[in-house]
């Protein structure tokens, strides 16, 4: 359900100096995002600005350089940060942790664990993320280019599934349940359910927890005897 490799530990002991130009595998072309901007990272330091607001400044300027792959990556990161933003009140913690499937699964971009108070997964949902750099500002809907077939596949999954639209300029994410029957086209999604809103995340948490609570905790299997 959750990310694997919980046993990974950091080795912080003294070790001989090593050359990382040889020891660390360099990113393969497949893993390296292909940025059109060559060396746009210049210029001096900014003042003390929050990451969020800094991004709002930079994103508008950088938008022109983003390819589809880059905007998709940024959209997934933004959606993951918004989903995992801690809620206040009685929770005072993150309710979700998203794991990127890295384009390996046909209709799903994120596997999102629903976390209990010990940070342990108690359920999950699938999310397809669509990011846009050209959303009209201030409208009630976010225009997106969604492949109908990919969305239809999402609606057919037997676990909770959602579409997350990300406005890269405004740095906002909006969620929409993927429920069958899928419409023939999905040209836009409503901006009614922003993931940056604590109430929306709590409502989503309750919806997914309630889905998994209806499933029996113990299931039978013919492969069960340890």
């Amino acid at each position: 359900m959750g990310p694997c490799g919980r046993s990974k530990t950091k080795i912080k002991s003294r070790r001989p100096r090593r050359s990382y130009h040889h020891a660390v595998s360099r990113p393969t072309p497949a893993t390296v995002l292909r940025w059109q901007a060559t060396d746009s990272i210049k210029s001096g330091r900014a003042g003390t600005v929050a990451v969020k607001s800094a991004a709002a400044n930079s994103s508008a300027a950088a938008m022109a350089y983003l390819t589809t792959g880059q905007s998709g990556k940024l959209g997934e990161l933004l959606a993951s940060v918004h989903l995992s933003r801690p809620v206040g009140g009685r929770y005072r913690r993150a309710l979700f942790e998203a794991t990127s499937l890295g384009g390996t699964y046909p209709s799903v971009d994120l596997l999102v664990d629903v976390l209990d108070s010990n940070n342990e997964p108690i359920g999950f949902f699938f999310a397809q993320v669509k990011a846009t750099q050209t959303a009209s500002q201030g409208g009630t809907r976010l225009s997106l280019t969604i492949e109908a077939e990919r969305f239809r596949r999402l609606t057919r999954l037997r676990a909770p599934a959602y579409l997350i639209g990300v406005d890269l300029v405004e740095e906002q994410s909006y969620i929409l349940a993927a429920i069958a029957p899928a419409p023939a086209t999905v040209p836009s999604i409503p901006r009614d359910y922003p993931l940056t809103d604590d109430k929306i995340r709590v409502a989503l948490y309750r919806e997914v927890v309630s889905f998994w609570a209806r499933r029996p905790r113990r299931r039978r299997s013919e492969f069960g005897n340890v």
Binding site: G5, R17, I41, G47, V51, N57, S59
Partner: protein, 166 residues
């Protein structure tokens, strides 16, 4: 690129467990926004992220996160030129001295999504009996795209000739 797991993060006893993995997530977002390419740094080296520019200049990032919501220690700055000493495990600093890539520390508030960075590569190694070393965080070295661009320029300048392997 796989998302950071809860696994490679060791929360302090009083700190909620989301803090560490969310700190890494926020670091990845800040770096990606700045036009940099980020991947998880693979073991056995002890750092969290391996970052590169589009033209192949690499550096390592160690992420330390805290929770302002749960009263974790946080840097406090009185002005834009102010500095704050952040205690870092000496083992991290020793490891940073031993690698031949620049290493940068990110200190991130996992709740407010703000952070600051400090270079570790030009600091002297701590003495043997030292358990922590104070790392100076500067108010203007935040995780905005502009500040990270300045970091990359600075690293490039310092590492272009002197320490790159043949």
């Amino acid at each position: 690129m796989a998302m950071s797991s809860r696994a490679n993060t060791k929360p302090k006893p009083t700190e909620p467990r989301y803090v560490a993995w969310r700190g890494e997530l926020i670091a990845k977002l800040a770096l990606t926004r700045a036009g940099l390419i980020v991947q998880d740094a693979s073991p056995p080296q002890p750092f969290d992220l391996l970052v590169s520019t589009p033209d192949g200049f690499y550096f390592l990032v160690e992420v330390k996160a805290y929770s302002s919501m749960h009263g974790g220690r946080r840097p406090v700055f009185n002005g834009s030129s102010d500095q704050y000493p952040w205690p870092l495990e000496a083992s991290v600093l020793r490891a940073a001295v031993e690698v031949n890539l620049p290493v940068v520390l990110f200190v991130i508030d996992a709740d407010r999504e703000v952070g600051h960075y400090a270079r570790l590569d030009h600091l002297p190694p701590p003495s043997r009996d030292q358990r922590t070393s104070p790392i100076s965080l500067a108010a203007d070295r935040d995780l905005s795209a502009g500040a990270l661009a300045a970091l990359v320029s600075e690293l490039r300048q310092d590492w272009a000739v002197s320490r790159r392997p043949a």
